[in-house]
């Protein structure tokens, strides 16, 4: 005895699909590609959204970073500009930053040394894990104090109270800071804004005997500023630009970066990707959908007497409509499972350029395509289903 079936819906659907496997396959194929592209699109847009969030958090809310343009070989920024900003924007926190590199004896690694003023930690809104950041007094007294990153604290067991050597100069560790900024280092950030994991912070005023290259004490690499709480970075930016472009300051070639600038780049990327990838997804889905509709229309025509039989056996118009809508949904939902599955498998493998894109996989990339596929199934099978339901049973049986 074969397993008993009182013809539940799935048996009906299986028959409908079996009757035109070629067209069903074509429709499924196009839909699956469409759904895969759609899944990638969702993952990418969500990833970019998260990335822009992360970027603005890592730069610090309401922070203005002023850097020379990369093409600028002169080092136009000077510590005095920091004083100028402080004088003109009372209540603002300002810090000049100079980057250099140093070898530490006993390791073959070279560290990034960030020489800054005491406010940097407050501007960037970094958390102190241990100890403290250097203060005004350290700056004035040119103390050889150093603050290390959490990564160094963990991997090299550098702790508060220990002394480290930057080349030959001993420095006392006074604090451990959490300064994670991996997103800023990435594609949409600005590497000049990053500190990285292997970084130490020293007072700006300490002479840099650790760098092989001659570092001019008179110039700095960047200025960071956080306006007083009642002022927004966007609002004071024009005034700030005016201030630093006065004649004789020689400061034309500067990049001005605020969280909104970083986000702007990502948003532009989102729009571009949304439009291009979205168009591809929509094209594939429309192609698959119209194939599906024509498949169902042909199915309805072929199965008129079956529709008549069903009506004779008590099926209502609704039952008939549901039958064809369910058939349509099987194709789209199958695509809504296969497409995302394919994307997830490929992305988990981290192949090629996909691994460099900020893609975010999760419940969204599973359930959104699935939900969408159900809606598409209903959309593209609605018309054939309604036309099937409208056929009067007497006429359907007449066409035997």
């Amino acid at each position: 005895m074969k397993p008993l079936n009182i013809s539940p819906l799935y048996l009906d659907i299986r028959e409908g699909i079996k009757s035109r496997p070629g067209r069903f396959g074509l429709s499924l194929f196009a839909m699956t590609i469409g759904m895969a592209v759609l899944t990638a699109l969702i993952a990418l847009l969500l990833g970019l959204e998260a990335r822009s969030q992360q970027l603005s958090e890592e730069l610090g809310t309401n922070v203005i970073a002023i850097l020379p343009k990369p093409s600028n070989h002169k080092q136009p920024l000077k510590p005095s500009h920091a004083h100028l900003l402080r004088a003109n924007y009372p209540g603002a926190r300002v810090s000049a930053v100079r980057r250099s590199r140093a070898h530490t004896p006993g390791t073959d690694r070279s560290l990034v040394v960030i020489a800054s003023e005491s406010e940097l930690v407050n501007i960037r809104q970094w958390k102190m894990i241990k100890g403290r950041f250097f203060d005004e007094l350290d700056i004035q007294l040119r103390k050889r104090h150093v603050v290390v990153t959490e990564a160094l604290h963990k991997s090299w067991r550098w702790d508060v109270g220990a002394t480290i050597l930057l080349r030959n100069t001993p420095f006392l560790i006074i604090g451990v800071v959490s300064s994670d900024d991996s997103a800023l280092a990435g594609e949409y950030g600005d590497s000049r804004l990053t500190t990285g994991e292997q970084a130490v912070f020293v007072p700006l005023t300490v002479e840099s005997h650790w760098d092989d290259q001659v570092v001019s004490e008179a110039s700095i690499d960047a200025l960071y500023m956080r306006p007083a709480n009642n002022m927004a970075a966007e609002e004071i930016l024009p005034g700030l630009k005016n201030l630093l472009s006065q004649p004789g300051m020689d400061l034309q070639n500067l990049s001005w970066i605020i969280p909104a600038t970083l986000i702007e780049n990502v948003k532009q990327m989102q729009t571009t990707i949304g439009l291009t990838v979205g168009a591809i997804a929509i094209l594939c889905l429309i192609l698959g959908g119209t194939t599906l509709t024509s498949l169902l229309v042909a199915n309805v025509r072929d199965r008129i007497s079956e529709i008549g039989l069903r009506r004779a056996l008590g099926a209502t118009e609704m039952d008939i409509a549901i039958l064809f809508i369910a058939e349509g949904c099987v194709a789209t939902v199958a695509a809504g499972i296969l497409g995302p599955l394919f994307v997830h498998l490929v992305l988990v493998q981290k192949i090629g350029i996909l691994s460099r894109l900020p893609l975010e996989l999760g419940a969204h990339t599973v359930f959104l395509p699935l939900l969408f596929s159900v809606l598409l199934g209903i959309l593209f099978s609605f018309w054939p289903a309604i036309s099937a339901a409208r056929i009067s049973p007497a006429e359907a049986l007449r066409s035997e």
Partner: protein
């Protein structure tokens, strides 16, 4: 003579008319039909092509609605009923047999008969029992797992009949069920229907062009000029 009514009629036509309108012209197919069908009646309907036999059967099976008049099914007026109420009445009480059998080709004999319960809520085991009983009645018990497209015409029609009677109907309508069969297969089908009608007290309405099959019926209705005329049976 018309047999004296033993019970209430299962189906009653009162002044029923049916017209089809195509565009601006209307075609009157049936007009003023008055008729009562009782449980156990085996009515054979004959008449020229296009005279309205199929139209009449569709009205009987509640698949279509009359243009005028009233059809009573089991003493219940059907004109005011909703689509779902008509479906309900039809699926519980009416069995249908078709000239082209209307079997689902990919399914076995048993599955085709079980299809009778597709839109009913029936316990699976119970449905299986009824389907097998119906197949036994038409002598098809040995073909349960055979795909229907491999059957002969007569066998297919017996499966069609088994499907129609799997849930014991009050009324069985059959539109030229023997139209595609040779005379011996046709006679077998008629005998089968005749037995069923008598044993199960089912009212049967059957359209046929074959005058030689009229002997199996208890009543003979002739469809002519938009009406059904009762003929004396031999």
């Amino acid at each position: 003579m018309i047999p004296a009514p033993k019970t209430a009629p299962i189906l009653e036509f009162k002044n029923v008319s049916k017209a089809y309108s195509n565009g601006d012209s209307t075609q009157k197919v049936l007009h003023g039909v008055n008729l009562s069908v009782y449980p156990g009646d085996f009515c054979a309907i004959t008449g020229p092509s296009g005279s309205g036999k199929s139209t009449f059967l569709n009205l009987c099976a509640l698949l279509d609605e009359p243009s005028a008049g009233e059809i009573f099914f089991n003493d219940q007026a059907t004109s005011g009923l909703t689509e779902s109420a008509l479906s309900m009445l039809r699926k519980k009480n009416v069995g249908m047999v078709f000239q082209q059998y209307c079997l689902l080709p990919y399914r076995s004999v048993l599955e085709n008969v079980l299809f009778r319960f597709r839109y009913l809520e029936v316990d699976k085991a119970e449905a299986l029992r009824m389907a097998k009983y119906a197949l036994a009645k038409v002598g098809m018990s040995s073909f349960l797992d055979k795909p229907t497209h491999l059957l002969s015409g007569g066998e297919m029609q017996r499966v069609g009949i088994a499907r129609a009677i799997a849930l014991k109907p009050r009324l069985l309508v059959a539109d030229e069920p023997t139209g595609n069969l040779d005379s011996s297969a046709a006679k077998q089908v008629m005998r089968c229907l005749n037995d069923l009608g008598q044993q199960e007290d089912i009212a049967i309405l059957l359209v046929t062009h074959n005058e030689s099959l009229l002997d199996y019926a208890s009543r003979h209705l002739r469809c002519k000029d938009g009406n059904l005329i009762e003929h004396e049976t031999a």
